[in-house]
Every structure is written in structure tokens, then in C-alpha cells.
């Protein structure tokens, strides 16, 4: 059976796992189902985890597999009724940066899921290119190209590319 320390290690990863699930599915309720199922699967397959490798990457792989095989279709249906996840999870912050974070979140939802997940894994979850490649089951070259396409698309969506009247400076300050 999984050791007590394995349980503690899982506990320590729940918040990260859930954040990835929300980013992937765009829905808090789906994300919670995904996390629940992933924890169950991780627990019953604990002997397959190789100590010394990244538990986070292993859990993300499990969750992602569950998402793509069972949840991807449901995600589209649920997103509308669930409401945009950011609204349900907004933490109090200063109003000015909150507005721009909303813009950013809206732009994120417009990215293809393959790009959004890579951007999240590398830019936020702290995975290496190699780990992201394992999680997404593609080569490192594909990870890199998805990442640069995701960034270019966000630059376009957030109009950070329009240098005609130098809004970059302005927006960079706003986003920061």
C-alpha cells in the first residue's frame, strides 16, 4: 500500500494539480472531478511512480490522460453553465490589476488547449521542457513550438504587438 509519506506528497501537490486542471478544462467543477479521479488513480497506481522523478509531472500526466479520454467533450458543454471560472475563483486584489488579469484570462481561453496546457506547464507550473514533453506525450521540439505559438497568439489577442502608438509600455505597466 502507498506509504504515509506518499499521501503527504500527494497532499502537497493538490493545489498545483487543481490549478492545472482548471487551466486545462476551464471549469472549476470539472477540475474538481478531475482532481478527485486523478488522486484515486495515483493512489491505486502508486507503485508505478518512480521515486526521484517529479511527482507533479506524474500527477499531471494522469490528470491530462483522464481529461483527454473522458472530459474533453463535457468541458465544452459545462463551460457555459459553469460560468467563467475566474469569476468563481477571483481572490481579492487591487482593482486595477484585476481588470487586466481578466483580459489575460479571457485571452487564455481563446488559445487551443494544446497551446494553453504547454504555456501553463512551462510558464506557471514550473515543469521543465523535458517534463512537459513527457506529460503531453510529444517531443521537446513540439513543446517549444506550441509555447512560442501560444505566446505569439497572446501578444496578438492582448494587442501587445501594436507598436503604432506604443501601447506596449502602457499595457506592460497595467499587466505588471
Amino acid at each position: 500500500m502507498p506509504s504515509a509519506s506518499f499521501k503527504d506528497e500527494l497532499l502537497a501537490e493538490i493545489r498545483n494539480l487543481r490549478a492545472f486542471a482548471i487551466s486545462l478544462s476551464g471549469s472549476v467543477s470539472l477540475a474538481d472531478d478531475l482532481v478527485q479521479e486523478s488522486l484515486l488513480r495515483a493512489w491505486s497506481n502508486s507503485e508505478k511512480f518512480q521515486p526521484g522523478t517529479s511527482l507533479r509531472a506524474w500527477l499531471f500526466t494522469i490528470l491530462r490522460n483522464i481529461y483527454y479520454s473522458n472530459y474533453r467533450k463535457r468541458a465544452r458543454e459545462v463551460q457555459d453553465s459553469d460560468g467563467f471560472y475566474a469569476r468563481r475563483l477571483t481572490v481579492p486584489g487591487d482593482q486595477e490589476s484585476h481588470l487586466d488579469l481578466e483580459d489575460f484570462r479571457q485571452a487564455m481561453t481563446k488559445l487551443p488547449v494544446e497551446q494553453r496546457e504547454v504555456l501553463t506547464l512551462i510558464g506557471a507550473s514550473g515543469l521543465s521542457y523535458e517534463e512537459a514533453a513527457v506529460v503531453c506525450q510529444v517531443g521537446i521540439g513540439t513543446i517549444k513550438s506550441r509555447l512560442s505559438r501560444a505566446r505569439a497568439k497572446l501578444v496578438e489577442l492582448l494587442e501587445l504587438d501594436d507598436t503604432a502608438d506604443s501601447p506596449v509600455e502602457r499595457k506592460v505597466q497595467r499587466v505588471g
Binding site: R18, Q36, L89, S97, A124, L158, V168, V175
Partner: protein
Amino acid sequence: MNATRTNKAEALDNAPPDPKALEAIGRALEAHYASLIQAPLPDKFVELLARLERDQAPLTQRRRDALG
């Protein structure tokens, strides 16, 4: 107008985005993710792991006993 658009589209395809824009995106992404990480966590996950640990211990022991 059209010429400007074409130039912009080409620039977007060929040139990497402005480093400042990338930096802004990186920061926004981190802020967005931090808000997800800090969001209130339902109790059910901690409860699930506690239940799994509690339930599985005797089960495994029983299996071991059965196998002799």
C-alpha cells in the same frame, strides 16, 4: 491601411514578439496561476486521501494474510 496590416501580419509571423510583451505575458500568467493556487480548496480532497489511507490498510493486510 491594407499595407500596414500585411506588414504587421508578416512581422508577427517572422519576428519573435517584443521581449517586453513576453515579459508582461509571463507575469500575467504567474499572477493568474497564483490566484488559482490560492483559491479556497474544497475539503473533499484531503478527506479522500485520509479515507484511502484508512480503508486500504486493512484491505492490503487481509490480502497478504490470504496469500499466506
